[in-house]
Amino acid sequence: MSKRGRKRLIDDTEMADLSANRCWERAEAGKAFALEHPGNSLAQFLPSWERLMSRPDVHVIKYHTCRFEGSRRRKFQMLMTNRACFVDFIGKLCEGHLCMRTGGPHLKWRPTVHNGQVLQSQTGDEREYPVGFCKEYAKAAGLVLGSGGSFLEVFSGPNAPLSVEVGALLGAPVPGYKLENKGKGDKVELQNLSQLLGSHPLVSQQASSFSARAAPTISVQESFYRDAALNAARQPGYGKRTQLIQDGLQDPSKHMEEALKLSHPFTLGNVLKPDHREAL
C-alpha cells in the first residue's frame, strides 16, 4: 500500500472507531444515535462496530439511495441507530434492474471515459445525502427528538444537508449559505454529453472537444521529450499517449482501414532539437 493509502486507511479507521465508540457511549447512556455509512464498508468488521451492532437495541437499517429523491444511482448504504422509528422511514431497498422509485434505469457508476481518457468519476455526485433521504431522516428525527431534543451531526460535510432538514423541521434554521461547486454545471453537462456518446454524431463531436479541454496540458519541451522517448522505442504511459485512431468510428472495417494507414509510432521520424537539426 502506498504511503498516502496507508495514511488514509489509518485516518479512516480512527474515524470509524471514534464514531462507533461515541455511539456506544450514547447507547449506554440511553441517548439516541444514528450512524450512517456505506453498506459494504469494511468498517463494519472493526471490533468497535461489531460490538455496537451486537447490541440488542441497535437496528442496522440497509437502504439504497436511489429510493430517495435526488439520487439516480443505486448506492447501498446502512444506518445504524438505537431508535426503531428510523426503520420505516429509511429502510428502503431497490430491487430489480429498473429503479423502484423512478421506474427508469439507474445511472451507471463507471467513470465517464472518452477516447480512452477518464473525463469524470461519478462519485462526486453522491458526496451529499440525497434531498429525499434528508427529508425522511428529519421526519424520523422529529419523532425521536419531540419538542425539546437537540440534534448534532458529526462529519457533516460543508453543506450539512441533513442538519438543514432537521433544523428546518425543528424550526431552528442552520446558519450560513450553501457552498456551490464552481463549474459544476459544466461538469454535469459534460457528463450528460458523454453518457449520450455514440447515440448522436453531433454529441460525439462536442464531447471530443470537451475531451481535448479536459486533457492535461503539457509544455512544448515536455511534449518534445515525450516524442523523443517514443522515437527511442519507448511507449509512454498509457494515459500519456495520443490515441492513434480516435473513438467514434463504431465499425471494425473502418477501423482496420484506418489502422492500415498508420506508421509505427517508434519510427515517426527524427525528433531533434532545432540546433541539432541545423547541425546535422
Binding site: M1, G5, A232, A233, Q235, Q250, L260, N270, V271
Partner: protein, 615 residues
Amino acid sequence: MKTLVEWKVLATSSATAALQSEHEKLACECAVRLGRKPRTALMEFLGMRYSLEDTAVPKLCLTGMPIVGKALESPFFHSYQVPATITVSELLSSAPRRRAGTLKRVKLMGRTGGAEMAKAIWQKTMKEVKAGTMSGPYTLEEMEKKHGRYLNLVPSFGLKQGDKFRRIDDHSASHNNLAAERTQQIQMAMVDYLMSMVAAMGKAFNGALWIGTEDMAGAYRQVPLTDSQVRISVTAVYNPESESVELFEIYGQPFGAAHAVPNFYRVAEWACRLMIRAFTAIIDHFFDDYFVVLRPGEAEGTMFCIKEAFKLIGLVLDDEKSQPPGDFSMVLGVAFNTASLQSQKLLLVEPKPTRVTNLCQIIDRVMAEDCLPPSLAASLLGKFGFLCSTMFGKVGRCCTGAVRARQYGHPNETHLTAEICTSLQLMKLFTTTAPKRELKLYDRERPLILYTDASDVPNRTEGRWVVGAVLIDPDTMTISYTSWIVPETVVNTWFPKQTYMNQLELFACPLALNTWSQVLHDRQVLLFIDNDAAAASLARGYSPRQDSCALVGDFWLAASSARLSIYIDRVESKSNPADGPSRLDFNLMRRLKAQWISPNSTSVFTRPFSWFVAL
C-alpha cells in the same frame, strides 16, 4: 579547427582584454574566491556571435546567482510557478532560533553515520577549502561576528554511494528551499534523447557512429553564489577529530539548494548550445555530463575542439572523467553499443555491468541475511527500475510486486516472504538474462496490425470464457483470425473472482503472439485492445494484481524473444474486429475472407501461472 583558431584570436584580442578588465571590476567576492575562471568577455562576444538566447549567463558568472527568493529566469526554460512557502524575511528572522537545533542535528548525524563516513565528509570539505570553493573552519561566534544575527546555518550529512561518500548540504532543513520561489521548469536530455540523436545521425550518414563524453569538474562550484547569500549558506560540518561541529562559508552553488539546479543548468546549457552552433557538433548534456555523437573520422578533431573551446571560455572539464569516443560508451549510467549500427542498423542500450553486479550483490545479501527493510526495498526497486530501462520493451517490470508491497510496508517487517524471494530471484534473472533494449534505425516494412478481445458469458453453451484475435499483414493484405475457448484449468490458475475479464483480455495477447509466432518475428506491431485496464497494464509492463502481472510478464517475454516492437493502443469495443472471434461469431471474418488460424495454446500450458509465483 578554423573556428577554434578564430576563437583563440578573439580571446587574445585587445577588445576582449579591455572588456575582461571591465568585467573584473564587477566580479563579486564569491566569483573571485572561485578563481574567476570563466572568461566572461569572450563568453559575451561568443554569445552575440552565435546568437545564444540567454545573454545574461556571462554576467551571472561574474555577479553570482541567488538560492533564495524568486529564482532567476532564463529564456532556455519554460514557465512553471511554484511559490515559496516562507518569505525571505521569515527565513532570516527564524534563523537565530534554529541555529542550536541545526548544530545538534549535525553532531548527531555525524556520530551516527560512523567514523569512516564522518572522516570522509570532513576530508571532502577540507579539500574544497583547499580548492577555494569553501573557507573555514569557523566557530559560530566568528560567523555571527562576520554575518550578523541573520546568519543561517545549513546542516550537512554524509551519504554512502557505492564505495564513495557524498556530502549533502541540507538546504531543506535550513529552510532555504522553503524560501525559494520557483518560476521555471527544466526538461533534461536523457537516455531517450541520446538514442534519438544517434538514430537521426545514423539515418543521415548511414555509417558507423561513436559516442564520446565530457564532464565538468566540480560543476556547481564553477558558478558563483551571490555575495549577499553567503550568510544564509554557512555550512555546518561534523569534525570527527574534535568531535564538534565546525562552520564553513561556501562560494559556489551548493548541492541541495533548489535554485542551484536552474542556476547551474543555464550555464551548462549555454555552453552546450555554443558548442553545437560553433562546431556543428551533435552534443547535449545532462547537468554537467556532456555526450557527443560523432562519425569516427571526425571524432578526434571534434572532441579536441570541444575541449579547447571549454578551456577558452574558462569552464573546466574533468580530464579524468573524459571518455574518448568509441562504439561502446557509458553514458548516464547505461552502455551505448553502436557496434551494430553500420551492419545491422541497430543501436543497443545495455545495462552498465557494474550496475548489474551491484544489484545482484545486494539481492544475494538480502537473501542471505533474510532481511529486507522498506528503505532497502525502495532502493532495490529504484536500481532495478533503472536497469529495466535498458531491457527490451517492458520486459522485467512484472516481477516487482512483492518488493513494492514491502517498500510501503511497516518498518518493522523485514523478513523475506516466499513472494519476496521469488520477486528478488526474478529481478536477478531478468537483470542478467533479459534481452537488451534496441532501436532499429530502419524498419521499412509496415507494422502488423493485431487486435485482441475476450468475452466472459456465463451459461454459454460452447464455454464461458473465449478469447479471440485478428492479425492484418499490410504487406500481403491478408487477414487471419483465431479464437480459443479458454478451459477452466487455465482460469483456475488465476485468483478466484466473479468475472475474469481483465485476465482474459490480457491472456488473449500472449496467446496471439504464440499463435502467429511464424509471422510475428522481428517486426513492428500495433496492438489494439478495447479494455483500458489491460492495455494500460501491458503498456506499463506491470499490474498490481499478481495473476494479471504474470500474464503481462508472459506477454513481454514472448514479445522480447520474438524481438517485436509493440505499440499498444485502444480500440473502442464496437470497432474491434476481434470482438466477433472472441464471441465465437465469425460472420465478419468470413465476409472479409479472413483465414482461420488454430490457436497455439501450447506455451500457455508449458508455462502456467506458477512460473511467476514460485521458482
